[in-house]
Symmetry: C2
Subunit: 138 residues, 2 copies
């Protein structure tokens, strides 16, 4: 079993600070659409980032295992939130990944590695909304 | 419906960058226990932060609605990850909240507001693992 510890403290208004030992502090806030300020990470941003990062770190693992040399990896993630019968819920997260590899002969193996990354990503597996992955390989 | 967009790009080794328009870039990486470097935010840290931040921002909403004046709000969150039959999964997140208020007569109302925050937090509602809240009011 692994554990992950984070502190979140209120500062003023609708803002706070999120701290994780030894790591840079991240300022956090209520989203602007719910009365928070602009340009500060919100819980929804952090969740979206967590899922996209998990897919990237899992992909790095599977690409390395398949001996695929990566030239570039970019991803854009979008989460949607809607009002459900019990309140607001995240209804889906889409992650669009663009991967550039050195050897075109490894295109199929790369596709496989990225799809496996999404399947085994512990964060995708812990959400009750669908995580959709789109992969483009160059 | 609301949407939240984030980009996650690979930089080198097991590290990358997470960007959200107009917000500070957050460096991200594979956790050390899976071959990543120390002192960089991991997907598991970001998820834990997202949940604790969501509870805080929801609490701020309910405290304000109940006209409770906050003096201090601190929280410590811990997520556990374990190997399940389908791979790694987050098995639980515990958030311990300590709230300091001005008026002791509002202790019960504060407790209610924080519990309601966890119940309606869209992130708690989107996870398939239990989120446990511990509240201490001073």
């Amino acid at each position: 079993m692994w554990t992950y510890k984070v502190a979140v403290d209120w500062k003023k208004g609708k803002t706070g600070e999120s701290r994780c030992a030894g790591k840079p502090t991240v300022e956090v806030a209520t989203p602007p659409e719910f009365g928070g300020p602009e340009n500060i990470w919100t819980p929804e941003d952090l969740l979206t980032s967590a899922v996209a990062t998990c897919i990237m770190t899992s992909a790095l693992f599977f690409l390395e295992r398949s001996k695929i040399t990566l030239k570039n990896y970019q991803s854009n993630a979008e989460a949607t939130m809607e009002k459900g019968p019990t309140g607001l819920v995240i209804t889906g997260i889409t992650v669009a990944v663009t991967v550039e590899i050195e050897d075109p002969a490894q295109t199929e193996a790369t596709q496989k590695a990225i799809l496996q990354a999404e399947k085994t990503c512990p964060l995708s597996n812990s959400l009750n909304c669908p995580v959709t992955l789109e992969v483009q390989i160059i």
